[in-house]
Symmetry: D2
Subunit: 339 residues, 4 copies
């Protein structure tokens, strides 16, 4: 049960609601975001919610039985829009392209990427400085020093930054240099990290787990929201199946299903979703037609020498065409006949 | 190794080729289709293929090491076009919509579907008369009598028929009433059925197995081709995964990957691929953008009373809009910038 | 609903039952096996089954809502015992070892295998004469002539034969030479083949599909039973997953789960279940401890030269030890403390 | 490449080795555990390792190309034995039972469990105080205060403690109260946590990811080892598949495969591996026969009122029998004929 409170609810009124919930055996969770205040009641007893809904200080009350409540479209029917400032928005009809290398490798590489993005009017750059790698002996990223370089060039050119955070203790030092915290597939159920990110006031892009269900993805988003951060994006990046002709199986079904279940924007990561350069474009465009709100795509001046993920990375030359087809497809989608 | 023979090769020349292959320890498979004659040599020894290629009566020779040879794009780089007559073609830039109910239920239902297809200028009707059902107690189709009714109304209105064949002994009686034999997912590796269909001169649409790999799908197509039938279409209908929010996981990656590996047309079955009515359109359109050559879609005047698969079936009303969006997307795809 | 009839029920009494079922909107399926006669009623209406149960000529009546009814342990709580004659039994506490090559290759190979089985007191030989192979160019078995040789040597030595049947039209010619018809994983939902095998009076061993669920396996067994053949064994042979360190994932859970759901014997195929020679023994023994009623195992005098599946085949030398450990484990299992 | 150093190697000799590795383009990782000192060289160039092996101060050198090196049996052929003190050992022929509730719930519950374990001569108690839960609104454990209670009663009775650590910042406060740090399935690739645990001198039990491959599990173990902690156990707890008749698919194949690939002990978690109380015993015994070094099993005085995982938890009464069958099976395993 979700109870949305009046912003200026009195303390006594709030306590009365909490008391009433306790009386029917419900556990209360108080959620405060920068936009609103909620009480989430969790319990199994059936009762007439009007007996609570009629209390003073309540703006709205809604029964949601699924594990994911605040992120559910049953509760909030309007699409969430992530506003990154400078008119850069994602969701609710605002489409963005996020592009850049898998790993931040050098200042020269950053400069060339920024130049490439500027030429293509791309507003958000991706790039990893903390890299989760299966092997402890692989390149693990340039760390906070890499991020500072990353920030220097993006900030100077009005480009927003999305990069992965791997652990709670990195959040503070990363905070001032990033615009979106990315949670990787391997941390999709790292609940302590989600708790901590829920306490930040910057947007989070949450990737689906390697074999995560859609309901688990939404429950992970609920962790962030219930800690106070409403600005969440969900990212489909392919799932693990028995098929070996490509890297991961991009779950195209997830896009309309997530858009139906949740009000949060859904981001398309076709680079990981198929893992083979020449198929990144068709899968991205398919994801757009199916309803995605943004693409996040690996590009590199010369993918063959990239430190990681070269096989799924577009060259800047290929990317120039890719961006045009992406934008044309977004424009075409607007013209589809709606019911 | 694929050896394409001159149409008027002399018997002695052919025998010489077979002898040469035997000399290097290769097993020969003679393949005769309505278009061409081939010898498929299978062996592991490395040798200079020019020593065979220079023999009399050989049009072309090509080394293909994968299990699937004749269906490979490495061998035949031009797309296969399935010609159903009356200018109804699939593949090589020819897109078709196939639509109709899951099961043929009654003459009245056939008439209403035919009327619906005519109104929408659809040239191919789908509908099962032999239904593979998990339970022996479920409705298993109207059988050959249903097919005759199906044929009567389609034939009178210039509509082609695609329907599933489940066993070899059904082929002969079905033959004159159908335009495309469909092989269902559960029979995707029913090799005896594939052998028998390879001896027919009507096109085959082969569905991917429930958890079939793309290479297995191509190897199954190779069964058909190597028995003499080149007119094969591959159908992506979703695979079985751990995700339970929908019926099957439509493998969008399979479409560009199959188009790259093979010259055969690839058909999109979003009805089974997602299994929920409201998502059939976005998944179909995504499949088109990704490169599919046709859609096969379940439609029913009133899906709620359909004998089978109602939950994934579009009403005729919904389908009217669906066809327009499908056609617009095909047209849009033509305008994408190519490398 | 399962209605077990008196063996000497009068025609009028039977018709009355069918009429009563029709009156409540149930579809009736008459099932006659060599042991019993049944009517399977299928419908959704709730009513007091005593109103039918009290009719003349009914031995027993039971409501079973699952798709699989006759094979369910809810209906028949006693384990099915497959009796192959000469005191060779499987199920209900009777354990058997079935062993032999993947493919029957030659008379010499048969003779050596028979000798090996005799030395180890093994009563059932496996060996394929019709081989389902992914590629049409692979060895596809010696066919019926191979089966006759197989029969000649086994029959002369009192050894039973299990071999795979791939299509309905093979049944008649195979019938006199075999003791158990095996249905392979790729034909696990070849419903026409299951229908036809249900009309035979020899036992069937039904393999689970490549990615078949346990409920699908039971529903496929129901096809056989409802056509009149009660003598069915279920075979766990591993499922397809994302893991690539071995061939298939042997689903050890399936063994106690199937034994709980069904009264049919459960057979352990560790050769396919793990696909690597050195692990066949531990997986077989694990399957026994978990409750399996037999093992079916690939053995070959010299696996390295086997026509197929050599990598998962035990040499005769290895097999000698294997059989002893299998038998010791079966004996040990008897001594486990039961609740 | 693994280079094991003399314990008293001189600084100059060590530097010479590092220099030589650099000369051939190899990256060096220095690993110091409480038992030994290593240099791990990572590179792709082929060269005669004797040119390095002959240098001063080297005890042993070995080429290991897989990602997982130090945990590989190719390097260390002798089984690792985890010594918890007081003669409680795991691995190398030493079998242990770890048992206890899913969650630590109360002091009363701890006392009853300890009493139950003492009666059954069980030396290690499991119990979660930090619980990873899909939903943020579920019970998340008693935390460090629960752990102190847990410790008080176990310590007083000579029982060792295994409990899950979810984040790096918990390690320090947990350290003095635990004997084994458990890494849960959702943190199996939380590389920062693995790095931090690699710096501890207490054993780690690392669970396989929800859909983790065996090679990923070993690479995660390599993270711990390469940070300096050799005392690692691997835990099979079932993987996620399409099958829904039970909770997870216990991967019985993983046990002999992991034992072959690695020298680390392998632990059987049948509670999560099948997820249904009545099947926990057969799956545990199967895991033992297949080669497991310990079981970790959920038990609760009254599973029906457990805070979490009740459906897969044995009652103390059921557990009494379970322990006997476990021990008898371990004893029986010793008697199997070895090659």
């Amino acid at each position: 049960m979700i109870i949305k409170l009046d912003k200026n609810i009195k303390k006594e009124a709030k306590n009365l609601i909490l008391q009433k919930l306790q009386d029917v055996g419900y556990k209360s969770n108080i959620v405060t975001t920068k936009y609103d205040n909620y009480i989430i009641g969790v319990g199994s007893k059936q009762f007439d919610i009007r007996s609570i809904g009629s209390l003073e200080g309540i703006k709205d009350i809604h029964r949601v039985t699924a594990a994911a409540k605040l992120v559910s479209k049953k509760w909030k029917t309007q699409d969430t829009i992530i506003d990154l400032g400078d008119s850069v928005k994602i969701g609710g009809g605002n489409f963005q392209i996020m592009a850049g290398p898998c790993s931040i490798e050098s200042e020269d590489q950053i400069e060339k990427t920024v130049q490439h993005l500027l030429e293509n009017n791309i507003k958000i750059m991706r790039g990893g400085v903390y890299k989760p790698r299966s092997s402890p002996y692989a390149f693990r990223g340039l760390g906070i020093e890499g991020l500072k370089l990353f920030y220097k060039h993006c900030h100077a050119n009005g480009i927003k930054i999305i990069t992965e955070v791997m652990m709670t203790s990195q959040i503070e030092s990363m905070y001032e240099y990033i615009d979106i915290f990315q949670v990787g597939a391997r941390n999709s159920q790292n609940f302590n990290l989600l708790d901590a990110l829920g306490k930040q006031d910057k947007p989070i892009m949450l990737k689906r787990g390697l074999s995560g269900t859609l309901d688990e993805l939404l429950a992970s988003a609920e962790y962030i929201f219930s800690n106070g951060n409403e600005d969440i994006m969900l990212c489909e990046r392919g799932i693990r199946t028995y098929e070996n002709s490509y890297r991961n199986t991009f779950d195209i079904n997830s896009i309309p299903v997530l858009k139906k279940k949740s009000h949060l924007p859904v981001i398309i990561d076709a680079s990981h979703g198929v893992g083979i350069r020449e198929f990144v474009e068709p899968i991205s465009l398919a994801g757009i037609i199916a309803g995605g709100d943004a693409v996040i795509t690996e590009v590199h001046e010369i993918p063959q020498i990239a430190f990681s993920d070269g096989a799924q990375t577009l060259s800047h030359l290929e990317a120039n065409k890719y961006y045009q087809n992406v934008r044309n497809t977004v424009a075409f989608r607007e013209k589809l006949i709606q019911f």
